[in-house]
């Protein structure tokens, strides 16, 4: 090995952390191959000649593959590589609340690094089965279509799924805004969004007085895919840490389809064998271990996750969508058709599900909600059959139930940032219960 031995010895003397070195032998966009670097552990943090940082991605008998996370300068073959002899970790500041941050501890609006940084591990150990307790406290969104029929509990994972421009992000922002004075720390995690979108979201949250309890953690399209890939894991590690301190945390992940595509890109360039739709076979595990961080912990804290998935042409049965549906505790499906009809939020009430249901609702809300859902679905089914019939020939009972269905649909409409309280919802839909009693 023709390493510059003197320099290595020199470096070792200067800094006790550096005890192993190697040399770059191959460079591509976000991976490098290194020879040497003998005394190294899997997932160790690595520094490349002060120009870039990364972590050990694979150890082979004669070489080590390093995944790059931060690049400041061009890497050349022959550059020296040092292992820092510690697990790769990201940085986070406790001052992040109210800010837009990234996983390296930068305040992106102010354009500088935070001062008081702590290390955060990337997707550490899973939460033991026995440390989880049942999810039974509600987390209200203020949207009657959700709180009544597809309620969300603290510690629940509820997917928000739909086409482009159907109001997915809006539902999540509404939910954040509705957490005011409810002792919930909110995190909005942007994956591969544009800087403009994220800044707009930041302003929206500020205008609605929600930024004082919200952290926006962002990664952008023009950054390294590794960074976007790691962002949600880091966000959830932070959330988990807060949960263990008994805080309730709400995490929005916008969005996981993008995350899957980024992971596919990384996997294919590192020669993993592609599976269905060219995604790697462990794409399910990649998302499962992320979303399994959502739970009600025995410490009293909780992590609620609302992941977003973007679909094409309203198809929620594609590979990534069904994977995530099978991980989450329910889904809110948004429909383009409803959105265009002006029925906002554009929830498809038939396809949406909450697997926790009444367990996370107040008794009163659940009573109204379950009847509302049953009647609404029955109405949507019947509506198609009698659409062509002459209204004057319908039986009075049928006509009345169709009229009531129309009223329900109308009453479920709600403008953005206009949350309703539990009692407002109950009053608005009290007629559902009344009619059933009479019948």
């Amino acid at each position: 090995m023709d390493l510059n031995i003197d320099k290595v010895i020199d470096d070792i003397k200067k800094d006790n952390n550096i005890f192993s070195a190697g040399k770059v032998i191959k460079v591509n966009e976000y991976n490098i191959e290194v020879s040497g670097l003998i005394d190294v552990a899997f997932y160790d943090e690595v520094d490349i000649a002060g120009k870039a940082k990364g972590y050990v991605f694979a150890i082979h008998p004669n070489k080590v593959i390093v995944s790059l996370t931060e690049i400041e300068d061009k890497i050349m073959p022959g550059d020296l590589v040092y292992s820092l002899n510690k697990e790769y970790k990201c940085l986070f500041s406790t001052d992040s609340i109210g800010k837009v941050v990234d996983i390296f501890g930068n305040d992106l609006i102010a354009g500088k690094k935070f001062n008081n940084l702590i290390e955060v591990s990337i997707d550490g150990l899973d939460i033991p089965l026995m440390d989880r307790t049942s999810v039974n406290r509600s987390l209200l969104t203020g949207i009657s279509g959700i709180d009544l029929m597809y309620p969300i509990g603290r510690g629940q994972r509820q997917l928000i799924i739909g086409d482009k421009k159907t109001g997915k992000t809006q539902i999540c922002l509404d939910t954040i805004v509705n957490q005011k004075d409810k002792n919930v720390i909110c995190m909005y995690v942007a994956i591969g969004k544009t800087k403009k979108e994220v800044k707009e979201i930041y302003y929206d949250l500020t205008k609605n007085g929600a930024i004082s309890y919200t952290i926006v953690m962002a990664s952008f399209n023009d950054e390294l895919p590794t960074k976007s890939y790691l962002t949600p894991y880091v966000a959830l590690s932070v959330a988990e840490e807060l949960m263990l301190q008994s805080f309730d945390v709400l995490v929005i992940i916008d969005d996981l389809k993008k995350h899957a595509d980024i992971y596919r890109q990384i996997s294919l360039t590192s020669n993993k064998v592609p599976g269905r739709d060219a995604y790697p076979s462990d794409i399910f595990y990649a998302h499962a271990r992320m979303l399994e961080k959502g739970c009600q912990h025995k410490s009293g804290g909780s992590v609620t996750i609302l992941p977003i998935v973007e679909t094409k042409a309203g198809d929620i049965t594609d590979y990534i969508s069904t994977n995530i549906i099978s991980i989450t505790d329910g889904q809110i499906v948004l429909s383009k058709k409803n959105f265009d009809k002006g029925l906002k939020p554009a929830i498809n009430y038939g396809l949406s599900v909450s697997r926790l249901g009444a367990a996370v609702q107040s008794k009163e809300l659940s009573k109204v909600g379950s009847k509302l859902r049953r009647e609404l679905l029955a109405y949507l089914d019947v509506k198609d059959i009698y659409e062509l019939s002459d209204p004057s020939e319908l039986s009075p009972a049928l006509k009345e139930s169709i009229d009531r269905g129309n009223k329900m649909i109308n009453d479920l409409k709600q403008y953005k940032y206009s949350p309703k309280s539990e009692s407002e919802m109950q009053t608005l839909f009290s007629y559902v219960e009344r009619v059933e009693k009479e019948g």
Binding site: A41, F42, Y285, T322, L356
Partner: protein
């Protein structure tokens, strides 16, 4: 005994240069300095051993010395396993004291043809749509197929409620690659209703690495085999979800850089599945009746892995998203749900004829729906109108309030006798209930004519 040194690490695949030629496939190795890292040998050459790591390899150093600790993974094989909850490697999870009496390797052989027993008696589930369309027998393997979020787990939980809670027959629950929250809730439910004594649970949930998820089926099978062979009795086995086993195997194959075939499954899928399914058989000592949830990826019923597992099933219940969309639960597709028992000699003429007639009505109903979408309901002939309305009643009638979903429906769960189902279906078909509003059949047990 030191056996070698680690030379390569990539996620869960670890290669060891061996200094000892006694290493065999299946051996369990461990790093000498601590037991945080353990490996199972899956391939050997005269100088190296390729292993899969049983735990995360994070922080594992190149050059670490490994020693051999056992000839294979083991699971408790004694009465001590009853009423306990285990992980995939046979360790108890419930934080209570555990004293092992006897352990057995989790890789066991399948049942030979000589020992196999196929004669058996009927088994009622109390769920209308299953008992009617896909009746069960002791020793059957019932596949519960469904895409994401159409209610497989709820159905498994209801079966546990109706079958295990009622009979307290020895049971094993294996949770593979499913939600940890549901696993814990199921455990809590069983503990709080004081029913844990005859239940053994094994978990390898979706937050675990693929090795854990692929091993926990075999670990669960050891428990079921103990109850059958040593306790000499009937066993109920619930697996949620067997597809995740194949999925975990594919992940391992990918990490080992094996060539994958269609949709990312290893070419050995069929062999892997048979090693599991052929162990789940009934012998003269006792029966193993299994309910296996099968996830359908991307709603693709023809997926290779799904079809592979289904070929071992004696019956299948298929859950359908379109029916779930209508709010009808359990959301069962009656056209695809059936069992080996649906035969005029086995269930009797009356039941068989009713199934045939019902399917005939529902098939016509689907055609009529298309006609109505174009012409409206008023254009139908009287006979078709009858078929249309009776079919809708049947469709509603096969919804059922389940005990385990009381919290969603706010309706009390019901166990329904098959005889009642046959009577009700007969009455709907022959027009006795033509004057009853269809909503009267929605979410009921048996129909009570006033």
């Amino acid at each position: 005994m030191e056996v070698g040194k680690i030379i390569s690490i990539f996620e869960i695949s670890v290669e060891v240069v061996v200094s000892d030629n006694t290493i065999k496939i299946g051996d369990v190795l461990e790093t000498v300095d601590n037991s945080k890292y353990r490996f199972e040998v899956i391939e050997i050459t005269n100088t190296t051993a390729l292993c899969i790591s049983l735990n995360s390899t994070r922080g594992l150093k190149k050059g670490t010395i490994v020693k051999k600790v056992d000839d294979g993974l083991k699971m408790e094989y004694s009465d001590a396993l009853m009423g306990r909850i285990f992980d995939a490697y046979g360790e108890v999870l419930d934080n209570k004291e555990f004293k092992s009496i006897n352990k057995k390797f989790i890789n066991n052989s399948t049942v030979s043809m000589k020992d196999l027993n196929v004669e058996s008696s009927m088994l009622k589930t109390g769920i209308k749509v299953i008992d009617f369309f896909a009746p069960m027998q002791k020793g059957f393997k019932m596949g519960l197929l469904g895409g994401a979020g159409v209610g497989k787990t709820v159905l498994i939980k209801e079966l546990i409620y109706n079958l295990y809670n009622a009979s307290k027959i020895n049971s094993v629950f294996v949770g593979i690659g499913e939600r940890s929250r549901e696993g814990k809730e199921l455990y809590d439910d069983i503990v709080s209703s004081n029913l844990l004594d005859n239940m053994t649970m094994v978990f390898g949930q979706m937050s675990k690495n693929p090795v854990v998820r692929s091993k926990c089926v075999q670990t669960g099978l050891v428990a079921a085999e103990y109850l059958r062979d040593e306790k000499k009795g009937d066993v109920l086995l619930f697996i949620d979800n067997i597809y995740r086993y194949i999925q975990a195997r594919s992940e391992i194959s990918m990490e080992l850089k094996e060539m994958l075939v269609g949709n990312g499954y290893p070419s050995s899928t069929a062999a892997e599945v048979s090693k599991i399914e052929e162990r789940l058989s009934s012998t003269k000592d006792g029966t193993i009746t299994s309910f296996q949830a099968i996830y359908i990826p991307a709603d693709d019923y023809n997926d290779d892995a799904v079809q592979n597992v289904v070929s071992y099933m004696d019956g299948q219940i298929v859950l359908d998203r379109h029916i779930a969309e209508l709010g009808i639960y359990p959301a069962i597709d009656v056209f695809k749900s059936t069992s080996r028992l649906v035969d005029i000699d086995k269930i009797g003429e009356r039941h068989f004829k009713l199934v045939e007639e019902t399917l005939k009505y529902l098939t016509r109903y689907q055609e009529l729906e298309e006609i109505i979408a174009v012409l409206g309901i008023d254009e139908l002939s009287d006979e078709d109108k009858n078929i249309f309305h009776r079919s809708r009643k049947l469709r509603y009638y096969f919804s059922q309030p389940l005990h385990v979903s009381e919290q969603f429906t706010n309706i009390k769960g019901e166990y329904v006798e098959l005889e009642d189902v046959l009577n009700d279906v007969e009455n709907i078909l022959n027009g006795t209930y033509d004057n009853v509003d269809e909503n009267a059949f929605f979410y009921i047990g048996k129909y009570n004519a006033h």
